[in-house]
Symmetry: C2
Subunit: 229 residues, 2 copies
C-alpha cells in the first residue's frame, strides 16, 4: 500500500475550514492543519481550531504572526465590527490575509514534503473579499509553482478550494454528510470568552441563514442579548 | 507639489536590501521599510536593518514571525551553514521566504496606501533560490494585483526588483554612487554577536568577491579566524 499523500489544511476554527478539513481527509490525504494566530480579536477561533483538529486526530501547527502591528482591519484593529450588512469590501477584511496564510502554508508544505494545500475560501457568501475569488486562487497557485524547491524539482503545489462555489447551506450539508460536528466551530467575529457567538455580525448572520437554508438545527451557542444601559 | 508616492521596501540589513532602499529613495518614493524577524540565526541582521534605515531616516517596521516553528532551513533550523560552495538549491534557502516576505509587504502596503514594493532579490549570484527568479516575481505581482482591495479598486501593486539582473559588483557600484555606507550592513549567514562576518559562508564569499570586482575596499568587519582545538 502506498503512503498517503500529505496535505496542509488551513484551519481557522470556523465552519468553512472545518468542512474543508473533513473533505481533505475524506479524499484520502494525511492532513496537517495550520492555524495562524494573527492577533485576531476572537481568540475563541484558536480554541475552536484545537477542538476541530483534535476531534479528527489531525496534528495542528499554530504559527503566531501578530498582524495587529500592521493594522487595517476590524478583526485585528480598533475598528468596530459592523452589525448590519455593508456594501463593498467589509471592514472585517484583513489586508492580504489569504495571501499571507497561503504563503505560510506553502512554506510549511515545502518542509513537510506536501504538494497539496486546502483552504476553505468561499466566493459566494463572502464575495466582498478580493482574496476569496477563483481568479486570485489560480494566480496564487501559478505563483506558488514558481516559488519553491518542490515546484522547481517537478512537484507542483495544488491549492484546493473545495468550498469555493458552494452556498453556506451546501457547505453545511456536505460537512454533515462527512460527520463534522459544527458545535465545535466558532464563526463569530466577536465571540465572547466562552466562544459564544454574538448572532449579529456578518459572519453570524450568514452562518445562521446557512443552517436554516440547509434545514439543519443550528448548534451555535449564542451569547445572551446584551442589556443596554 | 504632489505628495510623494509611498513604497514598502523589504530590508534585511544586508548589502542588497540596503542598496534597494537607496534606489527607492533616489527614485523619489516615501519609503517604509519592513523587516521580518523570522527567527533567523543572525540577529545581527536586524541590528543592521535598524542602522541602515536610521542612517536614511526611513521608518522601520519589524514584524515578528518565528519560522523556526516550521523549520527546514540552515538559517532557521539546526542545520549547519555550509562553508564551501554547494550544488543546486542551498540548504540556507528558507522555505517560501520571499513569498512570505512579499505577502507581508502586500498587507503592509495595503494598510499604508502604497502601490509599490521594493525587494532586493538578485537572480545572478543567488541563482540557486527559486524565489529570486524574474518569472517568480512576475507571477507574484500578477497574484498581488488580484489579492487586495487596492488591486480591485484600480491601484495595482508593482513589485520592483532593481537588483535582479545586476552582478554583486554592479550592485556595490550603484550603492556607492547613492552614498550607501556598506559598513552598516551585515550579509553573513552566521555573523557573531558583534555583527562580525565569518568570511567563509556563501554570502560572505559572494560579498567579498563583489567588493574585489567593484574595485572597492571591503568595509566588512570579519571575525578573527577560530582557533581549532
Amino acid at each position: 500500500m502506498n503512503a498517503k499523500k500529505k496535505a496542509v489544511v488551513l484551519v481557522s476554527g470556523g465552519l468553512d475550514s472545518a468542512t474543508a478539513l473533513a473533505i481533505a481527509r475524506d479524499a484520502g490525504f494525511e492532513c496537517h492543519a495550520l492555524s495562524v494566530d494573527y492577533g485576531q480579536r476572537h481568540e475563541s477561533e484558536l480554541i475552536a481550531a484545537r477542538r476541530v483538529t483534535a476531534a479528527l486526530d489531525v496534528p495542528l501547527m499554530i504559527l503566531p504572526l501578530d498582524l495587529r502591528t500592521i493594522g487595517g482591519s476590524a478583526l485585528t484593529d480598533d475598528i468596530d465590527v459592523p452589525e448590519e450588512e455593508t456594501d463593498g469590501i467589509p471592514v472585517t477584511y484583513v489586508p492580504a490575509r489569504n495571501t499571507i496564510m497561503l504563503s505560510l502554508a506553502v512554506g510549511y508544505a515545502e518542509v513537510l514534503g506536501a504538494d497539496d494545500i486546502f483552504i476553505g475560501v468561499n466566493a459566494v457568501d463572502y464575495s466582498g473579499y478580493p482574496d476569496c475569488r477563483p481568479e486570485f486562487i489560480a494566480a496564487f497557485q501559478a505563483m506558488a509553482r514558481l516559488a519553491t524547491r518542490a515546484g522547481v524539482e517537478g512537484a507542483p503545489t495544488t491549492i484546493h478550494t473545495p468550498l469555493i462555489d458552494l452556498s453556506k447551506a451546501e457547505i453545511i450539508r456536505k460537512g454533515m454528510a462527512l460527520g463534522v460536528d459544527y458545535a465545535l466551530t466558532v464563526s463569530c467575529y466577536q465571540a465572547d470568552e466562552e466562544g459564544r457567538a454574538c448572532g449579529r455580525c456578518d459572519s453570524c448572520r450568514i452562518r445562521r441563514a446557512g443552517f436554516a437554508a440547509a434545514g439543519v438545527e443550528d448548534p451555535t451557542e449564542y451569547a445572551p442579548e446584551p442589556v443596554l444601559p
